[in-house]
Symmetry: C2
Subunit: 363 residues, 2 copies
């Protein structure tokens, strides 16, 4: 293959992959039932529990991207006719609602203007339900959703709490057990900085009990948590051929996260993301997300006034500076960018390069 360009990845994902993760990917792969691979997969489960901050036994990686994680979460806990409440504050909230409907759920959405957080009281007032699903870090708007009180309210009303942590895991504080989350999923390619292709996921005992009590089979065979845990659990029964190379890469990515420490990693994203947002504000960018509810790792921005076609500027940033940022979505469409500073892309030298590049193309 001819050499592909090397980019600094500062879009809404994927982010830059650490050199040691790429090195792992360059090694010969193992079979999915090799004892050496199974030992590695066990370590992945243990490390994922630490990163999710959960004691859930059923914690593993779905063999698909973050969106497969979303579908895995919902398809297992929703049966046709189930009452499902979904918080919608952006594209990924809309996607939760869409997938919940395809699972047969009777969906009630709690909607807010894109960029604003959903008041938790509104979500709580909508309970009880079979499932409440919300996005922790809304990648389309750069908004951080408070989860405060949702876990208690769900437990009190017998509702299962599903949380999308695709863009939050490893970037901002999240504790699955403290927050009382029943199913939480993420993707590898954001703040974990492993290539896209796997979706870390964790299920509480209450969620699994609900799956066991289903009256209908899970609609997806590929994403059926009962079957998946027969492979990821002690039985090691063949289900599908696990992507062994990618799981080895995730092992290395998680090792880097834990070597750094979760607190230090969250602080790094907070500090550098904050510096980026100050620099963007100074250049005349405005933010879609309401002040006080902005994600440090993902800034959804309106370009400064009179800048011209955002596509031309974005392409210049890519071609002349080798820096990728993402297009806007919804209210930002054609007017703004989504700028990520996640995982390995969130480093002081890369931040400086990003700010210099943006300044050059918008000035």
């Amino acid at each position: 293959m001819s050499k592909l360009p090397v980019r600094l990845l500062c879009g809404p994902g994927p982010s830059d992959v650490a050199p040691s993760v790429l090195e792992v990917l360059s090694r010969p792969i193992l079979g999915h039932l090799d004892p050496a691979f199974l030992a590695l997969a066990e370590e992945v489960k243990t490390m994922l529990r630490t990163v999710f901050q959960t004691a859930n036994e059923t914690t593993f990686a779905v063999s698909g991207t973050g969106s497969a994680g979303m579908e895995c979460a919902l398809v297992n806990v929703i049966e046709p006719g189930d009452d499902v409440v979904v918080g919608v504050a952006g594209l990924f909230g809309l996607r939760l609602a869409e997938i919940a409907r395809r699972c047969g759920g009777a969906v009630r959405t709690i909607e807010v203007e894109f960029g604003k957080p959903i008041p938790v009281e509104r979500l709580i007032q909508a309970l009880p339900a079979k499932v409440l699903a919300v996005v922790h870090a809304e990648t389309s708007t750069g908004m951080r959703q408070s989860l405060e009180g949702l876990g208690d309210a769900c437990r009190e009303t017998g509702t299962l709490l599903v949380v999308d942590a695709v863009t939050s895991l490893g970037g901002i504080p999240l504790s699955v057990d403290e927050a009382g989350i029943d199913v939480c999923y993420s993707g590898t390619q954001k703040c974990l900085s492993v290539p896209p292709g796997l979706a870390p996921i964790t299920f509480s005992d209450a969620a699994l009990e609900g799956v066991r009590r289903r009256g209908t089979p899970v609609r997806s065979w590929y994403l059926d948590v009962g079957l998946l845990t027969q492979y990821w659990g002690e039985e090691r029964t063949y289900h599908h051929t696990a992507p062994t190379g990618m799981i080895a890469a995730l092992h290395e990515g998680l090792r880097l996260v834990l070597d750094e420490g979760l607190e230090a990693r969250w602080q790094r994203h907070q500090t550098l993301g904050g510096e980026l947002q100050i620099a963007l504000a100074e250049m005349g960018f405005r933010f879609l997300a309401e002040a006080g509810h902005r994600l440090p790792q993902l800034s959804a921005t309106f370009l400064p006034d009179k800048i011209g076609d955002e596509r031309v500027k974005r392409r210049r940033l890519l071609d002349d500076f080798g820096i990728e940022v993402g297009a806007g979505f919804g209210p930002l469409s054609g007017k703004g960018w989504r700028i990520g500073l996640m995982g390995e892309s969130c480093r002081p030298d890369k931040l400086a390069r990003l700010v210099d590049g943006i300044r050059a193309v918008v000035s």
Copy 2:
């Protein structure tokens, strides 16, 4: 990460990955909407058409393993209540039937003893149906299923023909268009020798027309071919974050296939697989698949008599010789091995090493 052992992969998959594919995996990844990546993805589509021997525009890679390809094929073409005929001659036929039921299909199975091929007349007699699904290369039994006449019979009866080519693509002759197949899927980790994680798939116009005429939404959002082709097609609309690193790896794997040439690659599998089967027979192994219907790339075998615990022998082959073979399934369970010689594992020097290793542990 500590160094993992290096194996010669001669199980039912994954197979050894080519060094140049591993080299591609070691490179920094691109974003899923980067123009350089989109150009590469276009080339992947073109190369997949050649390997599938199809003119189908809708030819791409599902972001999951071969089993996700199976679910993608069925979930799009089956609506609740649809009449579905499934040929069952092993584990993967059973899986087709199971997934078809979860899609809501009214499934009729045509079953034979494991190891035997399904007489095509029996499949044809079961038509018309909405869908006929069969496995081309049954990985659990080492049986090659004839597809002769199925395409014509399906066209004449208005039935969509779905073929599982997970273990056959790139290993034995298969022409999607000549065989009249409507949906065909594979996996990357068998005869294509790319790590597991992607499922090449192709849809005929008739299959897509059927999807467009559905009265109900496709039950899976992640695997909805209508949404997937908005990303893989000209629109390039964001659906999910494509696994860019793995798709670059598939690009390199396909380049190797086409550099070698399909005919030469099929011949290599036929020749070396035949040599392996002669050597196995000489050592006292017997084959589950009926003579004349054996796959060269995957031999499902009974161990020679009085060999003792197959697990002990298999583990010795792994630990002392670094060679992986697979456990038996069904009638072979506890009594035999599945021995693959696929893709990069199917080389004269590796065959010699495999035969020497097996001889050492069974003698």
